[in-house]
């Protein structure tokens, strides 16, 4: 049941994604969707409403339908490509990296590529290593892309709309562990959340935790638990990984002097590593203790639940890390 008020409506993160796309398709006829099984997307209502020329139900050809979206973007459309589960996006990395991210530069600005590549980090469900990757940070090493990773229903809607309206290629990272999260979402179809602006999700004074994508849920739970123990935690959501809102992170660290960064990606060269390096370079004088990173260890995701569950940063692990910093 969605409780609708004048300004906001209670929606799940997943429903907010669908709503953002439908609103942008209504607003701008250049917006099209491409991806596998889109015929049944939103219970089939999206293709029914907009027709086959706006919703392209593709064969399983990730690299080429992604490249076709780039070609459509070069010629006047604004495609939103659904790559489904993040691990499948690897098949399309060639077109994302070698074409979408490079064509504007390599053509000296003759080309623009207004396209959104969506994929979901889909893990913690015993689907093993080939379906469970959290690969957002790999693409942070590719200049020319913008990378968005919202954590709340309102942000996912506002940022997806901003991404669709942006003239640069945007990688839009969803986290399947957030799909069911419900919260207030503005109904105004022109209310956007800007790319490149982070947000303090919870104010505090003792420790800063920067939580990326699905790490937000255990982080907020840890912050509540720590409050009960008298520890005041400030939780920062970068919301966009590229460009990174360094100011919101540095301001918080200047206040607390302590930083924990939580990322569900594998540990080596992940988004947490970049943020930790940035703070070490630019906020070292604020730090009273060493920076702590919590990540998934560098191991493939196993099938057996008893092996998989302990791998991702948990509420208890975050609580323990914060306590070590005091």
């Amino acid at each position: 049941m969605s409780a609708v008020t004048a300004q906001a409506q209670r929606l799940s993160y997943m429903d907010a994604i669908v709503q953002a796309q439908v609103e942008e398709m209504e607003r701008d006829e250049r917006v099209i969707l491409m991806g596998e099984d889109l015929r049944i997307y939103g219970d089939g209502k999206v293709q029914d409403a907009f027709g086959e020329l706006r919703v392209w139900n593709t064969p399983i050809s990730e690299n080429s339908f992604t490249g076709m979206a780039v070609g459509a973007a070069l010629t006047g459309l604004r495609p939103v490509v659904s790559l489904s589960i993040a691990s499948f996006s690897y098949l399309a990395f060639d077109q994302i990296i070698n074409q979408a991210s490079k064509l504007p530069y390599m053509t000296g600005g003759q080309m623009t590529v207004p396209v959104v590549f969506r994929f979901a980090l889909y893990y913690n469900g015993s689907i093993a290593a080939q379906h469970s990757d959290r690969c957002h940070s790999m693409l942070m090493n590719v200049p020319g892309l913008k990378i968005v990773a919202p954590t709340s229903p309102a942000d996912v809607k506002g940022l997806l709309k901003s991404s669709i309206r942006d003239d640069d290629p945007v990688v839009f990272v969803e986290d399947s562990t957030l799909w069911g999260v419900r919260d207030e979402v503005p109904t105004d179809p022109d209310l956007l959340v800007p790319i490149g602006v982070g947000e303090v999700k919870r104010t505090g004074s003792d420790v800063t935790i920067v939580a990326i994508s699905g790490a937000m849920r255990p982080t907020l739970a840890a912050a509540s638990a720590l409050e009960d123990e008298g520890v005041s935690v400030e939780v920062v959501d970068p919301r966009t990984l590229v460009p990174l809102d360094k100011d919101v992170i540095l301001r918080s660290v200047a206040k607390t002097g302590r930083l924990v960064v939580v990322d569900v990606a594998h540990r080596t060269c992940n988004a947490a590593a970049e943020i930790a390096a940035m703070v070490a370079e630019e906020g070292f004088d604020h730090l009273q203790r060493p920076i702590v990173r919590l990540s998934t260890p560098d191991v493939h995701i196993p099938f057996s639940p008893v092996l998989e569950k302990p791998l991702y940063p948990s509420k208890d692990e975050i609580v323990a890390a914060v306590k070590r910093l005091r």
């Binding site: 690299n63 076709m68 070069l74 530069y105 390599m106 600005g109 913008k146 640069d168 809102d245």
Partner: protein
Amino acid sequence: MSLTEEQQREAYRRMLRIRRFEEEGTKLYKEGEIPGAYHASIGQEAAIVGACLALRDDDYIVGTHRSHGHPIGKGGELKGLMAELMGKTTGICAGRGGSMHLADSRVGILGESAIVGGGIPLAGGAALSAKVRGTDQVALTFFGDGASNQGTFHETINMAAAWKLPAIFFCENNRYAVTTSVATSHGQPDIGKRAQGYGIPGVIVDGQDVTAVYDATATAVERARRGDGPSLIEAKTYRFDEHQVGLTTGAPYRPADEVDDFVANHDPVVLFQRVLLGAGFAESDLRAIEEEVDAAVAEAIEFGRQGPLPDPADVYEFMYVNPINYPATTIGASR
């Protein structure tokens, strides 16, 4: 359906523009005025020009790492292309693309992909876009025999066929993917025959005969504009130089007499000169075209030389249409 007298004149002019541009460019490359790698289109002029002449100005093309011929064939200016080869700000890509990426959007080029097979989906997407926007534009992608073994070839042709997109898949089969021959890398050497597997027309044409290439492409274009879907064209052609100028291989990968035979007996420019003279063109007509082309190439070289080099401080320009906190400055970087 065949070339009119005016089109014949234009075909000769464009083929010669490619030939002279490449001859002069090769010299400049060897003399060090052009950096990087140089992939000349000499020998493949008829395939390029025959295909391009069947297109309208507002139709799209996508090319390859052997990228100089495509913009010239589609009717582009030489000056910005030569300046680009020299890495100047006046280059068509402002010195960011270079020899393998001479994309000129003013003549409908969406990209010249140096990732083999990487450009094929872009053309498929342009064709999809034309269908969504309700125009009668078509998109033609050039690619080589090597690219026909990439997944993008299969995937894109399949989607274009399933969705009846106005696309033309045009293979410049010059027999060698760098040094790997079609004979050793294709289970069945006629790439055009693969069309049958996708349920679309496939044509194999003499790529040294500009008229034959034009006819085949015009048929495919007509079909695409009618809404009947894509076609595959394989133009059997040959590159006269190495994969890239100056690239020497330890072991010969193609017989010397094969190269000699193509240069002596299958030069597309020479063959078309004969056709034109046989059709009643006066030698003086052809000379006038040759002189005009020589002057245009000389002017392009002068334009390239006069153009300023880019300022290293501008290296970040063109990365984003809408840059946000870019380039990100860090204390570390400014130290």
